[in-house]
């Protein structure tokens, strides 16, 4: 697998990361190097090996269906750059 410049630009856009035009080529090279290392893992024979889902032998923790949280509107919107009557206020999004 190899990333070209256009793909790097697209991925950056999807992740909302601004990358200057002249940085795209070097970034593509760096990412390709990383992908190369990851692809080395493909050389290991993993036939009959179950995918590892956790480093520790753990089970997913479940919670009871009880209301134990919420009720602090002020704290929820405290860090918002802009708010209005307990709502987050963002630039108008119209489809």
């Amino acid at each position: 697998m190899s990333l070209d410049k256009a793909t790097v630009a697209k991925v950056a856009n999807l992740a909302r990361i601004r990358v200057e035009e002249e940085k795209l080529d070097p970034l593509a090279a760096e990412l390709n190097a990383i992908l190369g290392w990851v692809e080395q893992l493909g050389e290991v024979d993993t036939e009959n090996v179950k995918p590892m889902t956790s480093v520790a032998e753990m089970q997913l923790r479940w919670r009871q269906d009880e209301i134990t949280d919420g009720g602090y509107q002020e704290q929820v919107v405290a860090n918002a750059p802009s708010k209005d009557e307990g709502f987050f206020a963002v630039p108008k999004v119209i489809e």
Partner: protein, 484 residues
């Protein structure tokens, strides 16, 4: 019956698949302990998990898992004891995480089936592809501020079941029947309240057209439609739009379209297409969801009788017509009411009273069944009064209206108004004699061969007795007297 669009170049068949998002009935959210109740003040049912504050971790709500399994069992579907939560990545103001936790390649429920009820008591099986658990997003409000969009995260993180159908649906009517049946099953199971107005159930509708019997055509998806009527309108508009393009020699672009219920049209949302490169990957904050057979069996043991089974029982054991049975089982509350009326009584008569008089009066007054002034017990007692001959069927309808308007018991109304049916042959004989004496000309005509006048005499006698005479008794005495 499939929908066929007759184009200039021949027939087109419409192919439809639905993705229904159903809000799970639970106290707390899918991965946090904040409340799910509808209509609370903005951002008061939001935990730091739902607001995606740094360092917060999701912990799954057991009830959401139970409800998904319960729904899967209700849809006769495969239950996956091992499933995985993935991140579906996109940016939107009401999605604070920047991703939705959903299930992609390994959902909790696999293939199942849903039987839809069509006209004339016909049924059709629609395949269910899968059901998976996911988080709902927050709510954006665009019309309360002149320059800003306001965001309320109360809904953010509420558990949804996305239920995906196979492209087995062939007409707007079948789509409507599918949504109604799914809603009915969810409500019987108690896994979703099915309230489309509050957004507890909404559908993404996939539509394509093809020549009958051909391969599937390219589809377009219309998102977030929240009424059965709009779903049907959107399908009709979209299918015709596609036929027009194809007949003009064009091609359909696979895309997401918005259904505008005010204008009754769909339009492209192409601006969002690139954003729909979701880059799913397993959520590193969550281990796979696993449970054992005992967990599934425990839920299975607790399943209620579902609408299809109930309908079969009403038809098979109680002798109700398939159509009436379908009407009675659609809502569990109606079925329960009917069964309470019919208990120990004639089921067909009971069904007629519930579907005819009760529904008629509820409609007339705009009341729901829960608000009915006549309880099942009282309606049952009215049926008893007909059955034992105390009142005639015709009088019973008057009594029912009075019960409905005043909330009084049937027996009290009958007693107060002296509506008891007269079966006393002496009194009836007297009334017949009076009617005959007053209409000797007609009696002669009858005896001269005009049989049809029997109805006239019957009517006159009923009128003379204020409708209270037992029609069976009148009939028995009247004919021999007329015949002389």
């Amino acid at each position: 019956m499939g929908m066929i669009i007759q184009g200039a170049t021949g027939d087109w068949e419409v192919v439809i698949g639905l993705e229904v998002h159903a809000q799970v009935t639970s106290n707390a959210k899918l991965f946090s302990g904040s409340a799910t109740e509808y209509g609370a003040e903005q951002n008061t049912q939001v935990s730091f998990v739902d607001a995606a504050m740094p360092g917060m971790l999701p912990v799954i709500n057991e009830m959401a898992v139970r409800q998904a399994v319960r729904t899967g069992l209700g849809l006769k579907a495969q239950i996956n004891k091992f499933s995985v939560f993935d991140r579906k990545n996109y940016f939107y103001a009401d999605l604070p995480q920047g991703y939705q936790i959903s299930q992609y390649l390994q959902p909790i429920v696999g293939e199942g089936t849903l039987t839809i009820d069509l006209k004339d008591g016909e049924t059709k099986e629609i395949g269910i592809t899968r059901l998976h658990l996911e988080q709902d997003a927050g709510k954006s409000i665009h019309d309360q501020h002149p320059s800003m969009t306001l965001v309320d995260l109360n809904r953010s993180g509420v558990a949804l079941m996305e239920i995906v159908s196979e492209p087995d649906i062939r007409s707007p009517e079948e789509a409507a029947a599918y949504v109604k049946k799914l809603r009915s099953i969810l409500r019987y199971l108690g896994t979703c309240d099915g309230n489309m107005e509050e957004g507890s159930m909404r559908a993404d509708v996939n539509v394509s057209v093809r020549r009958p019997g051909d391969e599937f055509g390219t589809r377009c998806e219309m998102k977030n439609i929240n009424s059965v009527r709009f779903i049907q309108q959107a399908i009709i508009f979209e299918a015709n739009r596609q036929v027009d393009i194809l007949e003009a020699g064009g091609e359909i672009d696979q895309e997401t379209r918005l259904y505008d219920s005010v204008k009754g049209e769909t339009r492209s949302m192409r601006s969002k297409e690139e954003a729909h490169d979701y880059r799913y990957f397993p959520d590193p904050d969550l281990l796979p969801l696993e449970f054992d057979d005992a967990f599934v069996e425990e839920i299975k043991a607790d399943l209620p009788e579902l609408p299809d089974e109930k309908k079969d029982r009403f038809v098979g054991d109680l002798g109700i017509t398939p159509y009436d049975a379908g009407v009675l089982v659609a809502e569990k509350e109606v079925a329960d009411y009917f069964e309470a009326v019919a208990k120990g009584r004639d089921a067909k008569i009971s069904a007629n009273w519930v579907i005819g008089e009760l529904f008629g009066n509820l409609n007339r007054t705009g009341k729901s069944l829960a608000e009915s002034p006549v309880s099942a017990d009282e309606l049952g007692k009215l049926v008893d009064l007909i059955k034992d001959g105390t009142i005639s069927n015709r009088i019973a309808k008057e009594v029912f209206e009075e019960m409905f308007d005043s909330g009084k018991a049937a027996a009290d109304i009958v007693k107060e108004k002296g509506l008891e049916q007269v079966s006393d042959t002496g009194a009836i004989e007297q009334a017949i004699d009076d009617v005959m004496a007053a209409n000797m000309d007609k009696v002669e005509e009858y005896r001269g061969g005009k049989d049809k006048l029997l109805g006239f005499f019957m009517g006159q006698v009923m009128k003379a007795t204020g409708g209270k005479a037992n029609p069976g008794v009148v009939n028995k005495i009247l004919k021999p007297k007329l015949d002389g």
